[in-house]
Amino acid sequence: MTEKVGVYVCHCGSNIAGQVDVEDLANWAGEELEGVVVARDYKFMCSSLGQELIEEDIKNEGLTRVVVGACSPHLHEKTFRRACSNAGLNPYLCQMASLREQVSWVTTDKDLANTKARALISGAVHRVQHQEELEATEVPVSPNTLVVGAGIAGIQASLELADAGYQVYLVEREPSIGGHMAQFDKTFPTLDCAACILTPRMSDVGQHPNINLLSYSEVEEVSGYVGNFHVRLRKKSRYIKEEDCTGCGICIEKCPKKVLDDVFEAGMGYRKAVYRPFPQAVPKFPVIDTENCIYFERGTCKACEKFCPTDAIDFEQQDTFLDLDVGNIILATGYDLFDTRKIPQYGYGRLANVFTSLEFERLCNASGPTDGKILLRDGVTQPQSVAIIHCVGSRDIRFNSHCSAICCMSALKFGHLVMEKTGAEVYSFYIDMRPNQKGYEEFYDRLLQEGMHFIRGRVAEVTDAVRQPGEEGKLIVQAEDTLIGMQRRIPVDMVILMSGLESRADARDVALKFGIACSMSGWFTERHPKLDPVATMTDGIFIAGTCQGPKDIPASVAQGAAASARVQSMITSGMVEIEPIVATIHEEKCSGCRICNNLCPFNAIDFNEEKMVSVINQALCKGCGTCVAACPAQAITGAHFSNEQIFSEIEGLLFDVVSGSGLKAAEPAKDSVPA
């Protein structure tokens, strides 16, 4: 049967029409290409009127196939398929030719553009006539959700889902939830106490009937597909029986082993071998750090066990595993800080009174190592002058090219806290001031009024080498004051380095485990940087918070809420459509060689031991075609990408070779088509 093809060439304003002669192209298609009964050009095919053109023609001209020469399918394939569908034509009988991203946007040579445009339209027209009707399948969506990471973004996402009535599994690898925000003292620009605004949320999480909090746990394995993920979790042993522990804390009190706390206290303070990360920890259960516990080292002590009133210590406890079925996953795994030892001229680690931003937060925090007093490394003296250095490890192509978004505001916050608590002089050394959200510029103005010094100049070095009188016993910060045009040396007592934000050290491994993409710097990749910041290219997996890129708390909260909203829409619809562009193994042709099994990038091929044939899980299959090409027995067909379709497209692309000089490509012999 001959098909009736409709060809529509879009101008896309001047995007395509500026390079390609769209009128001529449509005419040529109508006259020269076999099967084309209607050929039009139109200014904006994606507009309602453009779509109606297609719909009208299908109804009135009886079109059986549609070709649209326009932008990339990424943008409007869905639009044109829907238009066909509205008019009663199966959406998979529509084919797009990308005349914009593959023609007008990649060359300024009009001849080349027009030739290629013809080739692409011809290819599409040839191909579409071999396309077949396909029906999308639907799979159910589990209403459970896995949230990985219980910082503020993860907490927000979990609470919103739980409040909506859905079950949430909240996994956190530290002993307590709270993330970095729990380490801060105050938050900008309101100077709200971080713990005061965070702990109510933490408490809600701990008590919510719909949130299954799995703290001190990690995800081991993830498999499955949108709506149907299987997750294996490892619950690390605390060596404490949660059913018996009352959280009284006597074990912590009696533990004789002091350990440097380089996680929560950022190396500024100590904890015990059995510990809670901070007083308001959720859950309340302590954990035994086996690397530093005397019992695990030498077999002696056991003070915690002796004193525990409810006999909750269990040195024999083992890690346990939990298998979960969830419909969607939200990753909110947070960030790490730049290692300032990479910039030796700032003196970190060598000069006693050089601190990182996180260390300084701990100094300010009332439950920190100095009870909230801002003191020098000697733990006794108050600084009388403090320098704050911006952009440490950020905006520097040798380390991280990006701007870390929050350091300018944090620096203002620190300035205020220092002046309030100590009355010291504060000097900020910056390249640019970036207070760009609601209330931020006003906060900058406030600090200007409060008398903070601002010197525009990236610090060259921090030194204790005295050059002139007045510098003895001080840390000297040397920079060019670029606004005056003069090199300056400012002697101070304390230096705070605004360390840049980086992706977590294991971000790439996590991305691999969940099957999502991440950038070269380790930030998880969003589906679209402008219009889809919380989804990923992997259906059913969402991201929220700083794991997607540096941002402040309001933005993290917004993303947590956004991710939860997306998940809720999936859950309420109950079903998710699986694209029918998948591969199928023809059992009778399969020899059971299993070559395809390990080639599948989506782990979608299983082996049926009984029948000794491979089977494709079509919900996981993305239709990439790798197995189709690899199968030595040609036992696999890829829907929407059959050999026939591909070869005819090639023939179409070679229109000027095939039709020009009377040459015609030989028909491939049907049985000897190579895999």
């Binding site: 440097l260 190396g267 500024m268 303070g269 100590y270 030892r341 030796p344 001229q345 970190y348 680690g349 060598r350 006693a352 260390e359 190592p369 100095t370 003191l375 490394r377 000697d378 733990g379 006794v380 030194t463 204790d464 080498a465 005295v466 050059r467």
Partner: protein
């Protein structure tokens, strides 16, 4: 191991003691140093200031001669400026094809050519510390420099710039010379300005600027109670040593810090006589300082400090 030896102009005159002491310690350390036949001046920082192409060609002639000399693959330079010029020319000829082409075109006019990367250009101290090794050197020490507080001074051009990914030592906080002096038994004075600039040729351009740079270094070493400064570059040695009295005159200071070469210190530790090592030619005499070798110092037995009970200090980060 066999090395091409590029002494540089100053080792024949102002830095003769460096050349003498290098040759003196070469045998005991097992270093075969073969002087490049008919080498020419590297141009220091002067030639590049006037004409770049000719400057690269000037340096490249040495590279071409060395690469052609009996299969040499390693080229040792004791002077930091020569070292930088040689390795920078080699690196740029490889990294920037136009520079490579032009330079070879110029060399061709003299019947020479050089394939970038044919030689590995090394500073003398790099060879001593990494090829001979600190353990091997420590074993040969018969006269440990105990009692001597030495300030290791690197200067700029040995650690900066970092070309490509490899760098001989950290450009801000190098430690190779510290390690060497420690292996020789001396007390190493870790003064913060150890990789700061001595001023180079500024003594001739603007004496005020240069004297201030020199003064800072001397002051810092003196603040840290160094007995002597140990250098790895003839320009640094000249500036800190020969201009010390000028600096004193200009600022009214009274520095009296002898400035010696690391090769001289190695020689002393190996039991050689000062005269064999060119010691005695420094303007600020080292004789008083040398008497300290072997003497007991007050801090010889430093008792490990126990943390006081009421010590509230915060822990330092690990480096």
């Amino acid at each position: 191991m066999r090395y091409g030896y590029y002494p540089g102009c100053s080792l024949g005159s102002t830095a003769a003691p460096y050349d003498v002491s290098t040759k003196a310690i070469a045998k005991p350390l097992g270093l075969e140093l073969e002087e490049i036949h008919d080498w020419n001046c590297c141009g220091a920082t002067e030639y590049f200031s006037i004409q770049k192409t000719a400057a690269y060609a000037l340096v490249a002639r040495n590279l071409a001669l060395a690469a052609d000399q009996d299969g040499l693959t390693q080229l040792a330079a004791p002077c930091s400026a020569c070292y930088l010029n040689l390795r920078k020319t080699d690196h740029y000829m490889g990294k920037y094809p136009k520079i490579g082409e032009r330079t070879n075109e110029a060399l061709a006019a003299g019947g020479l050519s050089y394939q970038p990367g044919s030689l590995e250009v090394r500073h003398l101290i790099d060879i001593v510390v990494n090829d001979v090794g600190l353990e091997a050197i420590a074993e040969k020490v018969t006269n440990p420099l105990k009692g001597l507080r030495l300030a290791p001074y690197y200067g700029c051009l040995i650690v900066r710039p970092t070309l490509g990914d490899e760098s001989f030592d950290d450009p801000e906080y190098p430690t190779h010379l510290d390690g060497l002096l420690d292996a020789l038994g001396a007390t190493v004075v870790d003064f913060p300005l150890k990789a700061h600039c001595c001023g180079g040729h500024m003594t001739q351009i603007s004496a005020d600027t240069a004297y201030e740079l020199i003064r800072r270094l001397l002051q810092n070493a003196a603040d840290y109670e160094a007995d002597a400064i140990v250098t790895i570059c003839p320009m640094c040695q000249l500036n800190l040593d020969a201009y010390q009295s000028q600096v004193n005159g200009h600022f009214g200071t009274s520095f009296n810090l002898p400035v010696l070469y690391f090769t001289q210190m190695i020689g002393l530790a190996l039991g050689m006589q000062p005269k064999e090592l060119g010691i005695g030619k420094e303007i600020v005499s080292a004789s008083k300082v040398l008497k300290k070798i072997g003497a007991d110092t007050e801090e010889a037995e430093a008792k490990p400090q126990r943390k006081k009970r009421d010590d509230q200090s915060l822990p330092m980060p690990k480096v």
